[in-house]
Subunit: 489 residues, 2 copies
């Protein structure tokens, strides 16, 4: 049987490899990386990749993971390599691997029923659903927002945020009159007035997801977009700032003004064109597109333009939310005049979904809906994550650790000015650019072979997305290995 | 504390209500419905709905469920009502509630790590992923298909199926040459040639999902579509057949020919228009749009047209897959000349995703991708579901029980010719129409108050979607209560 062949053989082989000495102060987390194969992916990962590629393109596989043995900030691969994980499943593991609090929650028999009997949440919610929402998502709602809708993934969260915005926009135009037969009939055949000629604004280098609506707002990587038709909607330039931000205040301010002017121009142009902009979607820090920052003043200015023109503002916090910025939501750093209309989330919130302004609340059932609309199992886990974040003050710690990491990156970039540049960050959402994409690929590969798993962003960025349990000594391991790696190149 | 207030109070109150006598032959399933409130939703469900509606529009909530106490074909609501569930969370619970086999699987400690540490499957798959795919999804792959990609939900499955089709279509045009700078650059700003002018064909009354791409193919209900812009793509008429099918062979054949001719016409029209049809998406039986059937000959004819014109064919088996038709995939009844290019699934497959032809396999990594691309926890459960289906011969049973139910519906419609009509079905995928939508609403409400939970479809249809454990005596309960309900109206 296949399972005997590979799976059991793998497990048995791995069990013979000792994990590095355990650090008792860190919940049994290994003391540091341990590398047992000359290259990662090692032979077992390669074998499994070859098997997987019988059934799908497996070129994006980095390595296969032994999730049972992974712990805290350390991921253990199927060859027994132990890596410090600073990418955490594309920024989606808030408390690292196998946190005892999450294990305990899932061992409770009453939570088993939630895993086994996945409800159609919109129509048959479980007995504890309202309480679960209150103790999880609602307990960390962005200031000023108290409506929330769960969804399955980040793309669906953005898509449904767009939908809520479009509905509110049309409701404002329509006023209190009921829907006409013409509206209800025409939308069924994709025609106006029921399917209105509305556009949605996004920014260059943005990443908001991969389903058609979210993909229309995405401009980060060709391989995400090529060959798929999407509407020609307005795309504003995202500010291209110079780092460190505090050194280039005047230049950056000018750049941000330039971008805001284009936002305003595009709104007027598309209004005249007969496809008015109903909403604008933006990341507080652009993630996949290159960890691009903009100032609080930029976001305040953007909100002002939205308010002047009646355009709704959606912040996509799929990558930035969950406490790693030092606040639960990165946009809290922007001191906006009022809450954004939509805040979309997923990843380290464990559940997809979006918070939204009262004004955006659908007036009928089934307007924002699908079979599952999320998964309450994820809220059981999120509840525990939030308790841990609050009880242990993990947001304040993320701010300190992030600042320590950013300082370290700045030291390194002054040591290797030809190789590293543009160190930047907010909390632990840090990044640094490498000379060119080939060099970056080499750095990432060598770092992995040294036991540090990294992500990338933009054309030349290294994207750091540690868990909320990332500490100063983890930063030291990372910086030390990065120094060695670059020095030897 | 809020939890104390409602949740514990609810649980304590429910615990005092006795469940109906248990039937030992049916794994502890109640012997029949038990109604303890005069109306469903009862007072506790209403209280919880009011609380939920503080945070979102809760108008689609039917009742709140006690998932721990629900068992087999019976759902227990928070007021202690025990209902025979013939809608099963919108057709997404293949083995009903709390199946012991699923409980046992989730109690295994090694499966806990999968729940807690949700992987980014496309890049860091778990050690047992290939085996898990083989023992779950691949073990029931539609004949002729061996490529599979998991996804989070039905909409994402359809969207990514469309994407795979569009990529293959463009690859065929492009030939072996590499992508040009123009293609890679233009797609980033939503322009051709990178974002090609392609269209995707769908059918009137179709339901394929709610994200923008899937929504473009959906034409079933206004409230799913209104106020959201979607591309104007070609929509062919879905055959409107007369039932019973065997009595109207000639008329139905003519209607299907008419529809196929329009499919062909639309392909040529849109080709000339410069927005060629890359793919056609269709349900084997239209679900939400009204349980509309078409013959095997229709689907064969559709495939012939696709083959002649070079258009790819996607079957959306989100609602029809999983064994309830009497075969694992409803399209297996159509004896197609070769496999469809894409078969999308979700719901009672527990995981979303799609099977696809080798020809549609992306040639680079990250083309079909997102952070989670599904959830391996769902495959652990699906593996057990498939074992149960195979070991217990549940598909053959579904065929027998479905046939028994359809016979019963036909008897009823002859008893109440002014009220019921168009009884139809394949396996347990049965439906019957009610005189008008008001009468249907009354029937569904009264049936629920008698302890039978039903779904609806189309303008006047009652949609039956029992679990694979549905037996003859459950059919008897359903038919008996339907007869009483209609007789008293």
């Amino acid at each position: 049987m296949v399972r005997e062949e590979v799976f059991v053989r793998c497990k048995a082989a791995i069990a013979t490899i000792p994990l590095p000495q355990v650090d008792a102060t860190d919940r049994g987390e290994p003391r540091g990386p341990l590398i047992v194969t000359s290259e990662i992916p090692g032979p077992r990962s390669q074998e499994l990749s070859a098997r997987l590629s019988q059934y799908q393109n497996a070129d994006a596989v980095q390595f296969f993971v032994d999730y049972e043995r992974s712990q805290g900030n350390y991921v253990v691969d199927v060859d027994g390599n132990v890596l410090l994980d600073i990418f955490t499943q594309i920024a989606s593991l808030p408390l690292g691997y196998n946190h005892p609090r999450l294990i305990k929650a899932m061992q409770k028999p009453e939570n088993l029923a939630t895993v086994i009997n996945r409800p159609a949440l919109g129509s048959y919610p479980p007995i504890d659903y309202v309480e679960r929402l209150q103790t999880s998502l609602l307990s960390v709602a962005p200031p000023g927002l108290r409506q929330v809708q769960t969804m399955g993934c980040g793309s669906c969260s953005v898509e449904n945020g767009m939908k809520a915005i479009n509905m509110a926009y049309q409701r404002r135009i329509r006023g209190p009159r009921p829907y006409t037969e013409g509206e209800m009939g025409s939308c069924l055949v994709n025609q106006s007035p029921g399917s209105p000629k509305l556009s949605f604004m996004s920014f260059s280098n943005a990443f908001h997801g991969r389903t058609m609506g979210a993909l229309s707002l995405t401009h980060a990587k060709w391989y995400v977009k090529l060959d798929f038709p999407v509407p020609e909607w307005p795309i504003a330039p995202f500010p291209q700032l110079r780092y460190p931000l505090e050194e280039f205040v005047r230049e950056n301010h000018a750049e941000e003004r330039r971008c805001l002017e284009q936002v305003r121009d595009l709104i007027y142009t598309w209004d005249k064109r007969g496809e008015p902009v109903s909403g604008i979607c933006i990341e507080p820090i652009q993630g996949d597109g290159g960890d691009n920052h903009a100032s609080a003043a930029f976001f305040q200015g953007l909100q002002d333009i939205c308010d002047e023109t009646g355009v709704y503002l959606m912040l996509d916090e799929v990558q930035t939310g969950g406490g790693v910025s030092g606040k639960y939501w990165a946009h809290e750093h922007f001191r906006l005049r009022h809450a954004p209309h939509v805040v979309a989330f997923s990843k380290r919130m464990l559940s997809g979904g979006f918070y939204f302004a009262d004004e955006l609340r659908p007036t009928e059932g089934y307007r924002i809906y699908n079979t599952w609309t999320g998964d309450p199992t994820r809220l059981i886990l999120l509840e525990q994550v939030i308790k841990e974040v609050m009880e242990k003050g993990l947001m304040a710690k993320a701010e300190l650790v992030g600042s320590y990491m950013l300082d370290g990156l700045r030291v390194l970039q002054s040591e290797f000015p030809g190789v590293l540049s543009n160190a930047r960050g907010l909390g632990t959402l840090c990044a640094v650019d490498v000379r060119d994409s080939d060099t970056r690929a080499q750095v990432v590969r060598r770092m992995r072979n040294r036991g540090v798993n990294l992500g990338v962003c933009g054309a030349v960025g290294i994207r750091l997305r540690p868990s909320l349990l990332f500490k100063h000594h983890h930063v030291d391991i990372f910086l030390d290995k990065l120094r060695t790696t670059i020095a030897e190149m």
